[in-house]
Structures are given as structure tokens and as C-alpha cells.
Symmetry: D3
Subunit: 136 residues, 6 copies
Amino acid sequence: MILLTRKAEFSASHYYWIDAWTEGENQRVFGKCANRNGHGHNYTLEVTVKGEIDPKTGFVVDLKELKDVMEREVVSVYDHRHLNLEVPEFKTVQPTTENIAVAVWKRLEGKIAGARLHRVRVYEMPDLFADYYGER
Amino acid sequence: MILLTRKAEFSASHYYWIDAWTEGENQRVFGKCANRNGHGHNYTLEVTVKGEIDPKTGFVVDLKELKDVMEREVVSVYDHRHLNLEVPEFKTVQPTTENIAVAVWKRLEGKIAGARLHRVRVYEMPDLFADYYGER
Amino acid sequence: MILLTRKAEFSASHYYWIDAWTEGENQRVFGKCANRNGHGHNYTLEVTVKGEIDPKTGFVVDLKELKDVMEREVVSVYDHRHLNLEVPEFKTVQPTTENIAVAVWKRLEGKIAGARLHRVRVYEMPDLFADYYGER
Amino acid sequence: MILLTRKAEFSASHYYWIDAWTEGENQRVFGKCANRNGHGHNYTLEVTVKGEIDPKTGFVVDLKELKDVMEREVVSVYDHRHLNLEVPEFKTVQPTTENIAVAVWKRLEGKIAGARLHRVRVYEMPDLFADYYGER
Amino acid sequence: MILLTRKAEFSASHYYWIDAWTEGENQRVFGKCANRNGHGHNYTLEVTVKGEIDPKTGFVVDLKELKDVMEREVVSVYDHRHLNLEVPEFKTVQPTTENIAVAVWKRLEGKIAGARLHRVRVYEMPDLFADYYGER
Amino acid sequence: MILLTRKAEFSASHYYWIDAWTEGENQRVFGKCANRNGHGHNYTLEVTVKGEIDPKTGFVVDLKELKDVMEREVVSVYDHRHLNLEVPEFKTVQPTTENIAVAVWKRLEGKIAGARLHRVRVYEMPDLFADYYGER
């Protein structure tokens, strides 16, 4: 059993806002993130898969395939996008680092041939990141 | 003569768009950056000042003052903002890395007591940055 | 269940020394770290909390509050200090990376509203760090 | 119980190739890595050990000894070497990141006095790494 | 006048060896790098161009074009290659960091539309790099 | 003409204090750095040399020799030391980043065979560094 992790990056805009709240409540809870013009980040995504090493190839997963799945399912959808306005899953939940990690998990789960998704880590900034291991 | 450099960070949204151009022209020149919902980055700013070392304090510049000037003149204005929509200098020029470097220079020039501004470096991503040394 | 990690930094001095031992014994076990004038490091602290995502805010923990607790309980006490001489917990144990991780845990445990402390990581240098998960 | 991690680096060459396969099959599975002239990487190795903190020294493991073991058992054998041609364990398995992590584990297991090997992490590139926790 | 820098990476093998010297002389001057099986690195390339900002686009250079030129002229030729055996310019000079910087300059000079090549920086390791500014 | 840069690290303690000033004046100018128990940093040193590439070896300077000079003249003197108390040049000037850069220059000048010292860069923290190019 071994774990393999691959990173990718995307740059996106977001803001935090709850329609049912007043401007003041949004400001108090979300601070500068409540600015509805949006602001943005260079997100770093780390996807970890788990499995047995193939005795012939020495791989737990085909690296090119893993890269392609991450690109197709996540990066091409999130990169250079405004998460609140353009990505369906963030119409109903705030695009926080925590929720992005869960959303990336849902996008990748079951799509990686031959290995099991183990962890999704999302960095919003170099000093802030969320880890999601699926429901367990 | 010595140079001292201090870094700061800000997270902001932007897009590239020229009103006089068609959507197609904007797409061709600016690619994914032409998305008018905006996307964002964690920008890193490096400000370099130049001067003589004060023989008593050993400083070329008061570090706290330098930090305060960078915070007041740049970070507080750009951070968690949409550069095109909320920062005056980017109403008329595209908020490219190059133009942000020039704009930061203009904001800081003449504001740093006791030392001369030497260089402004702006990273849009870890693999892309612009350097501006003023007009010369 | 999700994990959220936030980093902070502090710069401090320390040395390793056991009074009951001779100078020679201290030198043999602690090497250059036995210099009682002290030497120092830029420490990086990573605090990981664990909990459920609040369905409204999308947060597992209030980020500003987490930052404030880390600042108040740890950074303001350790930063720009000589750990052996000025921080109470290191009067009786050596301020090794391992012991600092445990001490940070004790300082933070039970202070973070709404989430459970999961891990404290302390880097003494970029190539050396300790992880503590509490008693278990 | 605490975990301590130390990093080291080595620069080495490798390629991926299965003799029983045709050139075309090797190219299809291994892509650019099938070039038998070899190519290379700056590998980063992270070794994590686990144990109780010694109440006197504050150490879970003697840091100098850990460094020496990593140097003697791994770095001196892999650094500036062609892994396929000069390191015995890679005569029979491909020197993938996964297999290197397992091989480092086998080289270190039982050699670190006073602590238990917990994890070996190997980075082939900053955006690709494998983790091995031993057989379990 | 502004400077813009873009990074790229390539992984390659090399060794240092002078045929006219004995094995002993090669070993004495080149140390571990004289191993003719080769060893390798993750090289980082920084290309800096210089010019005026286009008042419309805000660019000193078309970023996509710069990336394409770097990919076509350098990365596709060096990446996953054995520099001594497969790259023509290193048949006659040692593939040292210094010589790679000069070779990259020669490959890029005159190929970047609208801007002037200012500097080529090549990192062999994070702690070792060469800068070349052309003949001057 | 080419530039080659090599990095090294040292961990040291320091404080800022002027005997002729009152405690209050020291606090006002030096803030937390005026704590005479000292605090510390992981300093990073970058030494850049300049010269012609040797047509045979491809080197501007013997890398091992450069490393040895940096180790002997600087790292072995500063590492794990209290700069104010144990390093002669800081008895009379404050060990600021600026003054450390100048002191490193003086220690290295004329000691590097075959190449000319071009720049000394000293990082006190990842976000603060000084550059010295000698008197000119």
C-alpha cells in the first residue's frame, strides 16, 4: 500500500456572502471576503491516491492519466473562473477552502482508474489549507 | 550604498479587456484572462530601497516605517479588491503584472523617508514576475 | 469531517543544556546547540483543527479567531524571545522542536471555539519538523 | 508519542523500461521516461520517526545520528548515481517515486536507534511525491 | 522600460568529463559529477525580457508567445534528455550551469518578438544558479 | 562574463541595542529587537561571483572551493552563535541584515580564487533581505 500525490494550480476569484443576511452581518462574519466584486487567489491542489504498486510498471497510478483527470475534472472548470458566478457547486455553498476541498473530492471520486482517492488538499494561500478524506 | 528588500502579499481579482475591441479580439489576445467575471491571484510584492547604512542603527531604512508605507499605500488599497473595478489606476490601463509594478512604484515614490526607491517587483504567480526601476 | 491548517511564524533564541551534566557531556550530546549564549531560528508553526463544516458559512472554524488565538497564546509569547530564559515551560524542559510542539499544543488545547485541535507541527528549519497529535 | 521529520536531498538519473516489452509499448506506457540515455531529478527525501520524547534531552531521536543514518544508508548510495545502472534494488524494479520510497524504507528500517520508522516520503519533483508507511 | 520574467522547468541528466584527461584528473576536478553513467537535476529556467509596455495591452511581451518560444527552443530539447549525449551544444562544452545559461541565451536570442532578451538564469539546484546577460 | 550564485545557511542570535541610549530610546527605535536576551533567525546567504567561463571545465569558479570558502570564512563563524556576543565585527556595529551583508563581503573579498565577488545577499527572514555590491 502506497500513497502518491500530485499537485496542480488554478487561479480563481471568489467572495463570501449569504443573501439572507444583512450587509453588516456579512461584513462581521466574512470581513474583507464579503466584497461582492470578488477577489482572488492562486490555489494549489494536492490530490493523493492510494493503492498497490504495479509490480511491472512500478506505478500505483498512471501519472499522465491522473494529471489528465485533475485537469479535465477540476482545473479546466475552476481556472480563470469566478467560483461563485461560474462553478455550479458554489451557487449554493460558500467557496471556502473547506468547501472547495469537498467539491474537488466529489469531482474526482471514482474517476481515477486503478487507485483509490485518499485525500484532497487545497491551499488558498501558502499559509492556509484544508484537507478532506471523504466521508468516514 | 546598500539595498534592502521587503516583501508583502495581497490577493486580488482582475481581468484584461479592451472596450474598443470585439469579444473575439479580446479572446485572441488575452485568452482566459478576458473573462469579465474576473479571476484572481495571490500577488507577492517586493520593494527594494537604496541608501547608506546609518552608522548608529545599522539600518538603511526604518523597517517598521517601510512596512507601514507599503501597507498604507499599496496593500490596503489592492488587497481583497477587484483591481479593474475598485482601484483608480486600472480604470484606464490593464492590470497586467507590468502595469501593477509601475503603479506600485508611483504609489511609493517619495514616500519612504531616508532612502531611495530602487526597484518594485510584482509576482502574479510564482513563475511570472515584473520588475520596474522607475523612468531612466 | 474536515481539517483546516493555518501557519504562523516566530523568531526566537534557544540553547540545549542540562545543568546536572558537565560541559563535556553537554557538548557531546547537544553539539553546537550547547552554546549558552544561544542561537536562533525562524520557526514556522502549523496548527490543524478538525470538525464539521458549518453549512451556512462554509467554515470549520472562524479563521480570524484561529489566527487571534495563535497570536495571543503562542506567537506573542515566543516571538523575539529567548525560549530558555523567557518562556516558563522551557525552564524545566529543553526547547527542542519536539518539546515546542507539545508546549504549543498545551497552550492551544481547548481555546479554539467550535473545532478540535488535531495536530501541531513546528519547523525549526525548513528541513526539520516535529508533529504532535496530543496524548492518544 | 511524537513524530520527527528530517529532510535530505540527492540528485540522480533514471529511466523506465521493461525489457520484455517492445520499444513502442515502453514509449506508450512510460512516455519521455523511456529514453534509455536517462534523465534526472533533484529528489527530496523526508524521513519521519515516531517515539516518546526523552525527558532529559527533549529528543525523540538523536538528530545527528538520524542524519548520519540517512546519509550512510541512502544519500551516499543514490546521490550522483544512475539508479538503474548503479543501485542494486533497481536492477529488478523500475526506479519510480513509489519504488524509491519503498526502497528507502527497507534501507532505513531497524537502523534508527531508539525510534520507530513511521513514514518515508520521496519527492521526484516539487509537484509529485510518494509516501510509504511500511507493510501494514 | 520594464522587465518581465517567466520560469520553466526541465529534468535532465549530465556528467562532467574531459576526454583528454585521465580518470584521476577528471575525478579530482569534477568529483562525483565525473560519473559517466550520468546523474540528473530538476533545472529551473528564468527568462527575463526587457522593453516598453504596450499602452493598449499592458504587456511588454505576449506571455503565451514567450512561453511557446521557451518550450519550443529549450524545454522540448532539454527535458527528459541526457545533455551530454543528446543535445548538440554539449558535445563540445561541459553542461555546467554556466554553460547551460549561455546555451539557453543563444537558443532564445532574436526569437522573442517585440522585446529584448535581458537575462537567462538557470538553477541546477535550489542553492546554485548562473546568470547570463549576453556578451557585453 | 557570467555570474554564479551559491547559497548557504546559518542560524544565529542577535539583538539591537545602543549603549548610549536609554532603554526607552532603544525600545522606540528597535522595538522587539531591543530584547537583550536575544532572539534568532535562520539566515540564508547568497554569494554571487563574476568572471569568465573556463573553456575546459565550463566553470567560472571551482564550486567546491567556493563552498569551502563560504563555510570557513562565514558559516563556521556565524552558525549557532550569538552575533553580538561572539562575532568580533558586531561588537561595534548592530548586527542588522544590512551590516551582516557588508561583513560577509569583507570576510569573502579576495578569498575566492579566479573570480571576482559581485554581490552578497543576506535573508534574515524569507520576506526581508539586504544586497551589498561592495564600495562603488
